[in-house]
Symmetry: C2
Subunit: 210 residues, 2 copies
C-alpha cells in the first residue's frame, strides 16, 4: 500500500515535471520568436516617468551599463539637489561627462526668471550632446519638470530629440512627462509608488536615497 502511494507520488512528480518542461518550452519559443523578429538597430528614446522611486537611479544604472561596454555617455542634470549624489562620483571617474544646472531644487526656488535662464543654459549643453554622434548615450535627468514648469518650450526639446544622431540613445527622467515626448519615445516606463519609507518617517540616507 505504501509502495503504491510512493509510486503514484512519483508518477505525479513526473507528470508535474513534464508539464513544467512543456510550459517553459512554450515560453522559450515565444521569447525566441520575438527576438528573431526584433532586428532593427537604432538609437532608442527611453522615458522613465511616474511618481515612484527609481527613475533617475534606473537612468544612472543604464549609464553604468553603457560605460561598462566601453560606450561614451553624458548626463545633464536639470535639478541639482543640495547634496552630491554618489553615482556622479563613480560615473565621472569612469569618464562620464556631467552637466549640472546651476540652481538648487526647483521646488525650493521662487524665482521663475532665474530658473528659466538656468534651464535654458543646461538645455544648450544638452543640445550640443544631442548633436554629437560620438556620444552613445545622453541622459537628461529630471528634464520633464523644465517642460511642465514652462522653463523650456516642448517644441525645442522635440526638435533636438528628432534630429539627433540615429544611433544615439537618450534617457529622459522625471514625473509627468509631456504627452508629445511620450508619443515620440520608443520605450516608456511609468514608475508607480506603492509605498515609500519616507512617508513612514524614514530619513533619506546617503548611499541609498542620494
Amino acid at each position: 500500500m505504501k509502495e503504491n502511494n510512493e509510486t503514484s507520488q512519483s508518477n505525479i512528480d513526473e507528470v508535474k515535471a513534464e508539464r513544467h518542461k512543456a510550459r517553459q518550452q512554450k515560453v522559450k519559443e515565444s521569447v525566441d520568436a520575438k527576438i528573431a523578429k526584433a532586428q532593427k538597430e537604432q538609437g532608442v528614446l527611453l522615458v522613465l516617468t511616474g511618481n515612484g522611486k527609481g527613475k533617475s537611479t534606473s537612468g544612472f544604472g543604464t549609464v553604468a551599463r553603457s560605460v561598462g561596454h566601453g560606450k561614451k555617455a553624458a548626463v545633464v542634470q536639470f535639478i541639482k539637489g543640495n547634496w552630491e549624489c554618489g553615482e556622479r562620483t563613480l560615473l565621472e571617474g569612469a569618464g562620464v561627462e556631467f552637466h549640472v544646472m546651476g540652481t538648487g531644487f526647483t521646488w525650493e526656488s521662487q524665482d521663475k526668471e532665474k530658473d528659466t535662464q538656468a534651464a535654458k543654459r543646461a538645455w544648450e549643453a544638452a543640445e550640443i550632446l544631442l548633436n554629437d554622434s560620438s556620444i552613445d548615450l545622453v541622459m537628461l535627468d529630471e528634464l520633464t519638470y523644465m517642460v511642465s514648469y514652462h522653463y523650456l518650450e516642448v517644441e525645442r526639446v522635440l526638435d533636438a530629440l528628432k534630429n539627433r544622431p540615429s544611433m544615439q540613445h537618450v534617457i529622459i527622467t522625471g514625473r509627468a512627462c509631456h504627452r508629445s515626448i511620450i508619443e515620440l519615445a520608443d520605450t516608456v516606463s511609468e514608475v508607480q509608488p506603492i509605498k515609500h519609507a519616507f512617508e513612514a518617517g524614514v530619513k533619506a540616507q546617503p548611499g541609498f536615497d542620494y
Copy 2:
C-alpha cells in the same frame, strides 16, 4: 494706447511671477515639513517590481550610488542572461561583490530540479550577505521569479530579510513580487510598461539593454 497695453502686460507678468513665487513657497514648505518629520535611520527594503523596463537598472544605479559614497555593496543575480551585462564590469571594478546563479535564463530552462538546486545555492550566498553587517547594500536581482517558480520558499526569504542587520539596505527586483515580500518592504515601486521599442521590432542593444 500702446503704452497702456505694455503697462498692463507688465502688470500681468508681475502678478504671474508673484503667483509662481507663492505656489513654489507652498511646495517648499510642504517638502520641508515632510523632511523634518522623517528622522528615522534604518536599513530600507526596496522592491522594484512590475512588467516595465528599468527595474534591474534602477537597482544597479543605487549600487553605483552606494559605491560612490564609499559604502560596501554586493549583488546576487538570480537569472543570468546569455550575455555579460555592462554594469557588472564597472561595478565589480569598483569593488562590488557579484554572485551569479549558475544557469541560463530560467525561461530557457526546462529542468526544474536543476534550476531549484541552482536557486538554492544562489540563495545561500544571499543569506551569508544578509547576515553580514559590513555589507551596507545587498541587491537581490530577479529574486521574485525564484519565489513565483517555487524554487525558493517565501518563508525562508522572509526570515533572512527580517533578521538582517538593522542598517542594511536590500533591493529586490523582478516581476510579480510575492505579496508577503511587498508587505514587509519599506518602499515599493511598480514599473509599468507604457510602450517598449522591442515590441516595435528594435533589437536589444549592448550598452543600453544589457
